[in-house]
């Protein structure tokens, strides 16, 4: 038996023993489902969620490729493939959602000191510490590099003052990884550093942001004379922009996928919504003016879906393609929601109360939420700039 066959057998048997029944597909639907983000403040409706995280965390299988010295699984690529397959076969849930895993750990592995890796990565893998990200500021949206949150050198530590916005789940996170200004404002990209801050430090506070669609995971995070040990600086002083760019690419791809998932894979189908609210005529949408517009839109979305497939078949190209997908994924999503709302008539603009179906009310919120798609993770205008400059090579003035 080859090593891989052996690994598969061991993995299968370990999962069989250790993956709790409610963490598999086909679980009893009355058992509550947790969205597991870990951290000090975590609470669980289903104790098996916690158990599953602990077991997977102990094996390092939440980040299976990371080496064992940092608490990872230490698996080879082939082994990871097998692990994923075996988890897929029993319908095992992902044990942990985490910005630490998606964003911070890769940065630490590339730019962190040995001490920093040993300190933070194991806790990320075990889900003991929940991280959030601090980039955007009230004055710096698309122009992220103009950020103003200041970290002053006060001897042993940095003194941080300023404000971050759009920090998702900051109110539930234990630590934040943030971009701060440690150097001069001009040239502005050169004075930025990447800093880790414990949210329990004195002077850190958060406030949730309500969106036009209602509650959101976003927060404002305030730093008022927050003392941060110098050991928490990642990479060189004033060289944080390099890290930031990597992270932004990551984030853009992430939001783009998210937007697409929200759209393409959504259970909300414009055709069935139109048929429900406008009636049917021999199997066709019962209003020709809507039908005509919906048909045009469906064709665009189909073409877009084929373009995603083509990009996959081509093996994934440069960030240029990412810009196009971000742009069209979010703009199509907005357009589709406008059409669904209009086709739903009065039901499409319902907000609350018993007079409306839950799905109709959800549609209203979803429609409003889509308006943020073309702003977060690089606005549509930024994507158009990227395409025209980097892909088409059009000149700057």
């Amino acid at each position: 038996m080859s090593n891989l066959d052996k690994f598969r057998e061991e993995t299968k048997s370990w999962l069989d023993k250790n993956c709790p029944p409610s963490m598999r597909s086909g679980a009893d639907p009355t058992i509550p489902v947790d969205e597991v983000w870990g951290g000090r403040k975590a609470s669980y409706k289903n104790p098996e969620s916690k158990l599953w995280l602990e077991r997977m965390g102990a094996k390092g299988w939440t980040m299976p490729t990371v080496s064992k010295e940092y608490g990872g699984g230490g698996l080879s690529k082939d082994e990871v493939k097998i692990l994923n397959e075996e988890m897929f076969f029993i319908g095992a849930k992902q044990p942990l959602l985490s910005f630490g895993i998606w964003m911070l750990a890769p940065v630490l592995l590339e730019y962190g000191t040995e001490a920093q890796k040993k300190e933070h990565i194991p806790k990320i893998i075990k889900g003991e510490i929940r991280w959030c990200q601090g980039y955007s500021e009230p004055g710096s949206g698309s122009d992220l590099a103009s950020l103003a949150t200041k970290a002053e050198d006060v001897g042993e530590s940095f003194m941080v003052n300023g404000q971050k916005v759009w920090t998702s789940y900051a109110d539930k996170a234990d630590w934040i990884f943030a971009l701060v200004r440690t150097g001069p404002k001009e040239p502005k990209h050169d004075g930025i550093s990447f800093l880790l801050i414990d949210m329990e430090t004195k002077g850190v506070s958060t406030k949730p942001i309500t969106l036009i669609s209602g509650k959101s995971p976003f927060c404002e995070t305030f730093f008022d004379n927050v003392e941060v040990p110098k050991d928490n600086l990642i990479g060189e002083l004033n060289a944080g922009w390099t890290i930031a760019k990597k992270l932004l690419q990551h984030e853009r791809a992430f939001i783009s996928n998210f937007g697409l998932a929200a759209g393409m894979g959504s259970k909300r189908d414009i055709v069935s919504i139109a048929k429900k609210h406008l009636g049917e005529d021999a199997g066709r949408i019962g209003n020709n003016f809507f039908r005509s517009e919906i048909a045009s839109h469906k064709i665009k979305e189909h073409a877009f879906g084929l373009t995603l497939k083509r990009a996959g078949d081509e093996g994934g190209k440069a960030s240029a393609t990412a810009s196009m997908f971000k742009l069209y994924g979010t703009e199509h999503n907005k357009k589709r929601h406008e059409l669904m709302v209009a086709a739903s008539g009065v039901d499409g603009i319902a907000w609350d109360g018993d007079e409306f179906d839950k799905e109709d009310k959800n549609l209203t919120r979803a429609w409003l939420r889509t308006k943020g798609n073309s702003l977060e993770g690089g606005s549509s205008e930024v994507q158009l700039n990227v395409i025209s400059k980097r892909v088409l090579g059009l000149p700057t003035q």
């Binding site: 036009i212 009065v346 039901d347 073309s374």
Partner: protein
């Protein structure tokens, strides 16, 4: 038909502008929304409006009104819409006043019009029964029994229905769903036994209700207009209402556009004002043009209403379509150009997005009116 405001109308517009900006900035709407006020409008503000004579604009002088016409009330609503001023003026001062002044009999006029003028009575128009506007689809029944009429059915999405004192209700006195004939309009006191008002919570936080009528008994005298031809009467009232609503939507668009222009002139990105980016400039210029087209469409429709033109129906559908499309464009662009803060509840700009889509649904959406325009135009 002259497409400019006359002196009186300009005066009304200026007065309304001052009133809205000073007494009812958007903060007023916001605080009503946040207070979970069941009525979603403020009695004191309504009293002030009444003192200004606004509910009586469409009412003849003999009943205490000023008879300034659809144009007069429309410019007031346009200005009030710029700050999302909440009030029952649309359902009462436009629909109630117009319906009764034009189709009521002498007794009804004497009973209701002075109360509308004084602001002591508000009204609402109960028309729709399903999620897409279509009066012909009325199924609600009105059965004549001796001297009484028995109403049964459910009306939905009644503007200002949660607070109205007097309801004007379209019900079927003969025929079947889908037929425009066989309909009659009735007055129903909203406190009558068997009337259940269910306040709706819509995206734009305006006063709406679904209203259930269960064996509601009214008098034979409570018919508005002629029996069996209430469908036509309702259509005329609806056209007036659509025009006034288009003026409101124009006001919404104007305010969203102005706010956005201001933002473009203040906000810096990459060291320069974002209003200096040519791509945004061209989009702003396009919005300006669409707004100009909307102003003309609303103006022409107002004039057609006041002059009782045979173009009234077509211009009403034109105005509602153009106002709806412009508000779509402007509210979306406004949020996008504001960037991240545009989608936060803390900023006002999102209100215009919500108000826009709800207003679009009232008395027929863009597709409904586009098709109606084509039908009326003979193609």
């Amino acid at each position: 038909m002259k497409l400019t405001l006359n002196e009186e109308e300009q005066f009304l517009k200026d007065t309304a502008k001052n009133f809205a900006q000073e007494r009812c900035p958007v903060t007023h709407f916001r605080s009503l929304r946040d207070s979970n006020d069941p009525q979603l409008w403020d009695k004191a503000i309504w009293n002030e409006m009444s003192k200004l004579g606004w509910p009586g604009i469409l009412i003849p002088e003999e009943y205490g009104g000023s008879n300034f016409g659809i144009s007069g009330i429309s410019v007031i609503l346009q200005e009030c819409a710029k700050t999302l001023t909440p009030s029952p003026l649309f359902a009462t001062g436009v629909i109630g006043a117009y319906s009764i002044a034009n189709f009521g009999n002498e007794n009804q006029k004497e009973e209701y019009l002075p109360k509308i003028v004084s602001g002591e009575m508000t009204t609402a128009f109960a028309i729709d029964e399903s999620s897409h506007h279509n009066p012909a689809d009325t199924e609600m029944t009105a059965e004549f029994k001796k001297d009484k009429v028995i109403l049964n059915g459910k009306k939905i999405f009644v503007v200002d229905g949660a607070s109205a004192d007097l309801l004007i209700v379209l019900a079927r006195t003969s025929g079947n769903k889908g037929e425009t004939s066989g309909l009659t309009l009735f007055f129903v006191n909203s406190n009558s036994s068997g009337v259940e008002k269910i306040k709706l919570d819509m995206a734009d936080s305006r006063n709406y209700a679904n209203i259930v009528f269960s064996d509601v008994e009214i008098n034979k005298e409570d018919i508005l207009g002629d029996i069996e031809t209430g469908g036509e009467t309702a259509e005329n009232i609806l056209d007036i209402a659509r025009i006034a609503l288009s003026a409101e939507m124009l006001g919404n668009s104007e305010a969203a556009f102005e706010t956005t222009l201001d933002y473009l002139k203040q906000r810096k990105q990459f060291g320069v004002l974002i209003g200096s980016f040519q791509a945004l400039q061209h989009r702003a210029a396009q919005m300006f043009c669409e707004l100009e087209l909307t102003k003309s469409s609303v103006m022409a429709a107002m004039r057609a209403a006041d002059e009782n033109s045979n173009e009234l129906q077509r211009l009403s559908s034109l105005a509602k379509t153009v106002a709806g499309e412009t508000l779509h464009l402007v509210s979306n662009e406004a949020v996008q150009m504001h960037g991240g803060i545009g989608v936060t509840d803390e900023y006002d700009i999102g209100f215009f997005l919500k108000r826009g889509r709800v207003a679009e649904q009232i008395y027929g959406g863009i597709k409904f009116h586009t098709e109606r325009y084509a039908n009326l135009s003979g193609f």
